[in-house]
Symmetry: C2
């Protein structure tokens, strides 16, 4: 499918993707009066934008190749003419977050994606759609949604086992609940940041494992966690669970996530109520939400679940997705990306449908924009571990990153950048299809000095 | 201090209180055009309201006795003429939540309280303020804030000890971290409901403690937790901790809270990541936020902390408040309130200042409207236990509620209503002062039938 702009062959964002996000531009090229004037004229937005002077406003967008498509502009052109969006598109896409679009439900998301695939294809059904195109470099990308609540699961059996072996030995590695339900906990929504945001190394109380002394320090065991997460689209009322057979209709789409973790702070604080300051100093997500409809060709069977889950968690046949996930580390003053992990979403023991059905089975209510994380995704072999905790055996051995062995890590050092990428690839009818997620990147800055008692 | 309306002697809401909340009325008597017309005329709002027809709109309010004072109306009258509110009052008090007012900071909250105490006193400095008065019975009270994130602490040493003894024995009752830092966890913000909201008994996976069988069931161990919680006013930026000496300036005020808990669901799920479905089906708060300024006369020393906390948690001299807290149970079809607990906020081992300093010491950011709970507040004697878990020794003994022993509970039964009340009382200069919180009430409905696989 050719598009109205050239899309690089290895792009994560072909017309088959159509992810959703939020952007702003220095000058609001999606301003309705401007669009009306320029309809059916192809504009170089970088030049034209200088002619108008409006405060940058966030609005919804999709991405094709290295261009962004301003959905508020597409809506202003009247191109969303289907039954679900005709009366809603102008309102929902002009919002500073995707929450109102998410609330409309899956039929509306499918209608938007299909329409965009038509008008952005070459030849397009709309000449004027060119006016909604902005080069990515001319935009600022923002958090795609207001995240009311954020939950993180622990759904990689390999990860849970590896961590369990370290702390409880092989025989008791998995807790009794692990194979019965998708264990999860509430995370902190306020500190979820967009890819590209730097975070300061956190400080907290740490216990010396030998002397048992407790002291205040910057974290010496700062780690990443390679995760994905999904956004809730339409929610449910308090008291009314989401049945697993309906769960996919409530899932708007997926992003990549790095659940930064201070292992030493976490180790002292987490009994009995779970992770807290070891996690809530920052969580990074990628900006473009990839829909389940885009991922549909990449469905694969999930791992066999034994014992069989309870009825409310009854799995389907192919509830996993074959998403290749890579994590790399770039040291300060370096441009090299050293591979940390090559893993895959399909390894997860518990599926997104099961996570959502479980989360609501007690009546807990979801709202559009809520975020549910997978937990660290580790695979079966040593190259597929999704955290340094596992790769360095909690700091007991070097993880060798460079071929010559000169670059090693046990945990993250100041100035390190972590990048997570994800993509699906498949040959369908002799043609390679690729759907990607872009990048989830963040850099760790040195701990801030802070005067506690003023 | 006499007020412009009669305030019952035992009211929680004298002029010395001035709590903040959110209300709506069937007809918006605070409509600005209406106020302008009626200025300086005393109106019976119940009669006049019928003459105007506007959609009910939420707006900010305070309460005196059995009347509500519509702050949007007070602002429209131009009565907030101080430096912090003069240009902001009309905007912030017309909002459907208190978040924008909270964001202004403590000087603005103090200015609002002082001004309201002046104009609502008899003789008032403003005749027109009568037009902002609404009888409580003519209003609907709403959640006072948009709660972005909700955290619950575990700060009652007595509660932690009692629970610890049950599950680990007396010698290991308190975890090693307990006396070092205020243990807490992230809760679910979406399911926080206002006093008066009924909740359905939750269902989930439960493990038989003897056979170890795991089965799906409605909770058989549904419990309440008597708590208080405080709202964040002005927040902090990600990466910048709040120093304990500044913490009070970030605390907008307090409410009562019932952290409903399904002990059997919680027991199976909570290792290693903490409480989840056992808690997130519902949390009830009282509607009127009582400021720290109103509570100032009731400051008392907090418990002695040994070992001395880390520098960032350094306590003041009188960081606790003498707030008497009662929990009562009313069975279905009964009007009797049986006493469950008489406890006090002052028993808490960790103070609100310490909770907030701890929560942000790693750089975690707070936003206006975030809610931080105390954890169950138990006192030193058997009548001051803040949960049925403790009073019934996890269901092993009856808790006798009625004098004749005919009404007992081990856990909450369908149809039971739980009420929490709180008040401060003191004689100052020969006059009794009382500051109260109103009520935090909720009823448990039978579990809903749900078809899991459609």
């Amino acid at each position: 499918m050719a598009a109205i702009v050239s899309i690089p062959e290895d792009s994560d964002f072909p017309l088959a993707n159509i992810p959703f996000g939020v952007i702003s531009t220095a000058n609001n090229v999606s301003d309705i009066s401007f669009i009306a004037i320029s309809e059916s004229i192809y504009c170089d937005v970088n030049i034209v934008a200088e002619l108008i002077h409006i405060q940058p406003e966030k609005r919804c967008a999709t991405r094709i190749g290295d261009h962004v498509v301003d959905l508020a502009a597409v809506a202003a052109l009247g191109l969303f003419d289907g039954p679900k969006l005709k009366t809603e598109a102008t309102r929902v896409f002009a919002q500073p977050t995707l929450n109102e679009f998410m609330r409309l439900g899956r039929a509306a998301w499918q209608e938007a994606r299909a329409k965009l695939q038509t008008v952005l294809a070459a030849p397009s059904t709309s000449a004027s759609v060119h006016t909604a195109l902005v080069p990515l470099a001319a935009t600022t990308v923002h958090l795609p949604a207001h995240i009311g609540d954020y939950t993180d699961f622990y759904s990689s059996r390999e990860h849970a086992f590896n961590v369990g072996v370290m702390f409880r030995g092989r025989d008791n590695a998995l807790q009794p609940n692990y194979l019965r339900l998708p264990v999860g906990y509430h995370g902190r929504a306020s500190s979820i940041v967009l890819s590209g945001t730097s975070l300061s190394r956190p400080c907290g109380l740490i216990q010396d494992p030998v002397s048992k002394d407790v002291f205040f320090s910057e974290s010496k065991k700062l780690d990443y966690e390679l995760e994905t997460a999904f956004f809730i689209g339409a929610g449910n009322s308090l008291g009314d669970p989401i049945a697993i057979d309906n769960a996919e209709d409530h899932i708007f789409g997926m992003v990549l996530m790095n659940d930064w973790s201070a292992r030493d702070i976490q180790a002292f604080e987490y009994v009995p109520l779970g992770p807290f300051l070891g996690k809530n100093f920052g969580t990074t997500i990628s900006p473009w939400i990839v829909t389940l409809d885009a991922l549909e060709p990449f469905r694969v069977p999930q791992p066999i679940q034994d014992p069989a889950p309870a009825a409310y968690l009854k799995p389907g046949i192919r509830d996993a997705y074959d998403i290749q996930l890579h994590a790399t580390l770039t040291p300060k003053h370096s441009s090299k990306k050293y591979m940390l992990s090559k893993t895959n979403f399909k390894y997860l023991y518990w599926t997104m449908k099961q996570q959502l059905a479980h989360h609501t089975v007690n009546g807990c209510n979801m709202l559009p924009g809520d975020l549910l994380g997978s937990g660290t995704i580790s695979g079966p072999d040593p190259t597929s571990l999704g955290s340094l905790l596992e790769a360095s055996l909690n700091g007991k051995q070097d993880v060798i990153l460079s071929a010559d062995g000169s670059v090693t890590r046990r945990f993250i050092e100041d100035g390190d950048s972590l990048s997570i990428t994800g993509k699906c690839e498949k040959v369908i009818n002799g043609k390679r299809i690729r759907i990607g997620f872009g990048v989830c990147e963040g850099t760790i800055l040195p701990a801030k000095k802070f005067e506690f008692n003023k």
